[in-house]
Amino acid sequence: MTGAACALFAARAGLDVVVVDRGPVAGGTTGAGEGNVLVSDKEPGPELDLALLSNRLWSELAEEFGEFIEYEAKGGVVVATSPGGLAALERLAVEQRAAGVVAERVDGDTLYGLEPHLAPGLPGAVHYPQDSQVMPALAAAHLVRAAGARLLTGRTVTDVLRTPGGAVLGVRTDRGDIHAPALVNAAGTWGGEIAALAGAPLPVLPRRGFVLVTEPLPRMVHHKVYAADYVADVASDSAALQTSPVVEGTAAGPVLIGASRERVGFDRSFSLPVLRALAAGATRLFPFLADVRALRSYVGFRPYLPDHLPAIGPDPRVPGLFHACGHEGAGIGLSTGTGHLIAQALTAKTPDLDLAPFRPDRFAEEAA
């Protein structure tokens, strides 16, 4: 998705773009995601600024692609399950509002008006109308197509071609060389490998997540609904399994249930205990789901960097190398802002956001 967005914004900035992928379109984390375009789960800081920029760009793209990519500005509802949780949630909302997020405290009839099937007796929630959703695979495919980029799928990058001075000349793939003066590393969970090939290490690691998908239903869940502890899990550094219920209906009918986080490498095997925990969390929030059947589940790997911020922008270690990876679980949402900033960097414009917090070489300094 990030690669597709970079391709679109770069093409619209007048550049000639080739998209190379080791698999098919949307074959990596994109195809295993829910399509979150969220501001609600981010604390004030550079990631929230990027999320707000991205959110605005998504709504603009939606005018062009909306129905093809199943864009839905459905809003998020973050539910507190205890009075203490509600107080913490409200403190976060106050800070988010100061950063430009629309966040409305809701409780009682208003909350149950938004989500009539929520478990009774919840103390309150915060409603985030800006939260949106897209169908990520369709979004990636349509953005690549709209970019008019040359799409080379099923090609693995085996090396980065560089001048004697170290500048990027292009990439070598298992099916031939591709020459270009600029290389954007949007390889997601493989971002660390591309960076290493280019001689500019980036510590991208996978964080596994499962999503449960139910049978198609008439619309019973109207927003993206999640428990307040999700925010803490997203920001957490722990390797252990964490699950916090995230429940949402989709335009196509099925309800999607997340979200689990584990650091287990690239292990794709299905873990019944994780799926049980997801189901338990979802049925606590929405008791009606107990009688709804899960049809399938899928697994994906969120690419993250140690400080949970993506790497975006030029790499000072290798002229011509740009990074756009490490967005963890927010890559779909943050892709548009990332693509926009990358296009600005590629065309030597002043970026709309300060790229300093996203500097790709920030870990090299720490290691040194």
Binding site: P24, G31, A137, L138, P254, A290, S297
Partner: protein, 480 residues
């Protein structure tokens, strides 16, 4: 008795029955878990006892083998060596982590599939069978169009005849018994439309010569068809079904040497039933989730029918489509091997030499069959853009073609992601072969973590303690 190791056999068709009987006779307790109300699987499907069928054997061949297996199963159940769990729909087999290597089989109970059961076992034998492959054609979704196996199941299970005038079409050895069965039950079979040209080839194949039983079986059906004056149209295909609210006719046409429809040979055959099938595919969901290696679409097994996951055996159609006789041989070997290994001895292949010999011959025969019966090479050209190929999600052939041509989809998973084909209730079990053909990509085994839909309430429950106790479910529906 309770100290004996326990083998869970999943599926009570020919492979599962043969495995159960063989294992129970050699010192292990068996829990035979099956979705149907009675043992037999699709092949030995039994009419409900309440129907009081006078001569159920009229619809089956090899009735004696079935009776022998059934008597042996009943004896083991009475002796307490086998617990036969009927109406148990297995949705997941969990391999406990750590050294124990034990398994928990998770099932949903009864026709509603609402309540959950967990069965513990020391080893698992997957005899999950196969399912029918059906390729799409214009108006294949009309009521009156059924699968060949579905028509046969109706005959065997409910004794109900699915229509008055039928066309049986597609490809594969199943079409013969289906046409013969329908004709014998009084349905007028207007034509048997087979896209392959099996006769000439079968006459010369060595594998066939080695299987006189199979030849006799085929000759028997052919004689029945002759007796009922059923026309066989070899190298023909159904081009289109017709009807407004339900099936009224089909158009069939001859095929040229390359598998394309010969222009001008189309003709219309009035009928109210079209039984169509293009062969079988192995059920591999449980094996896939357990992490068993698949060879293409089938579960990989060694000479003892062991998968590459310790403690997991597989037999029958799940390891490759080959028919009931092969399933019986594989099931027997799997049951013997599992029994020996669970009781701590090294199995002696000499003990099942006869079954192994039979397995070799039948696998060669199955390979010959597979090479003869194939859908027309260019079947997908007949599928119009407005033909719904994925019924669950109502995805048309045009949408699939667009995803390939416009959005760069080149494999089944990407087509699914971009079109929703295969995301619905059946999880692609019905549409995947058709979608793969339309997209021009390989049919690959899907990852389906749940072998069947499971209520979230069941999934959310605290892990129910697995039971090993013998259930009191009757294995017999009553007097027959």
């Amino acid at each position: 008795m309770t100290d004996r190791p326990r083998l869970a056999v999943i599926g009570a068709g020919p492979a599962g029955l043969a495995a159960t009987v063989a294992a129970a006779a050699h010192g292990v307790r068996v829990t035979l878990i099956d979705a149907a109300a009675q043992a037999g699987g699709q092949f030995y499907r039994q009419p409900a006892a309440a129907l009081r069928a006078g001569r159920p054997q009229a619809l089956h061949h090899d009735w004696r083998t079935w009776q022998r297996l059934r008597r042996a199963l009943d004896a083991h159940v009475r002796a307490g060596a086998v617990a036969h769990l009927t109406d148990h729909h297995v949705w997941f087999v969990e391999r406990e982590s750590g050294e124990s290597g034990r398994f928990t089989v998770h099932a949903l109970l009864g026709p509603e599939e609402a309540d959950a059961v967990a069965v513990g076992a020391d080893a698992v034998l997957l005899a999950t069978g196969g399912y029918e492959k059906v390729l799409p054609f214009p108006c294949w979704t009309l009521p009156g169009v059924v699968t060949a196996g579905g028509a046969q199941a109706m005959l065997k299970g409910t004794l109900v005849v699915p229509g008055r005038t039928a066309v049986v079409a597609g490809t594969g050895p199943l079409l013969l018994p289906v046409a013969a069965g329908l004709a014998a039950a009084g349905v007028q079979v207007a034509a048997l439309v087979e896209s392959a040209a099996p006769r000439a080839f079968l006459r010369r194949t060595r594998a066939l010569a080695a299987q006189p039983g199979k030849v006799a079986e085929g000759a028997g059906y052919a004689a029945q068809l002759l007796r009922h004056r059923v026309r066989t149209l070899a190298r023909h295909t159904v081009v289109e079904a017709h009807g407004i609210d339900r099936l009224e006719a089909v158009t069939v046409a001859a095929l040229d040497g390359e598998g394309r429809v010969r222009v001008g040979t189309e003709r219309r055959i009035p009928c109210d039933t079209l039984a169509v099938g293009h062969g079988m595919l192995p059920h591999t969901d449980l094996a896939g989730t357990l992490g068993c290696r698949l060879d293409g679409l089938r579960v990989h097994v060694d000479d003892e029918q062991r998968t590459d996951v310790p403690g997991v055996w597989a037999a029958g159609e799940a390891t490759g489509i080959g028919g009931s006789a092969l399933a019986l041989a594989e099931g027997h070997i799997a049951g013997r091997s599992a029994a020996a290994r669970l009781t701590g001895s090294t199995p002696d292949p000499q003990e099942w030499a006869a079954a192994a010999k039979s397995r070799t011959g039948l696998r060669e025969f199955a390979a010959a069959i597979e090479s003869v019966y194939a859908p027309p090479a260019h079947w997908s050209e007949q599928v119009t853009d407005d033909t719904v190929v994925c019924r669950c999600e109502e995805v048309t052939a045009g949408t699939v073609r667009e995803a390939v041509a416009q959005l760069g989809a080149g494999d089944l998973r990407t087509v699914k992601l971009l079109t929703r084909a295969g995301m619905g209730w059946c999880q692609g079990r019905i549409c995947a072969p058709g979608v793969a053909g339309l997209a021009g990509c390989e049919l690959t085994a899907a990852r389906r973590p749940f072998a069947r839909p499971v209520p979230l309430g069941v999934l959310a429950e605290d892990h129910p303690q697995p039971t090993s106790r013998a259930h009191t479910h009757p294995t017999d529906g009553g007097p027959s």
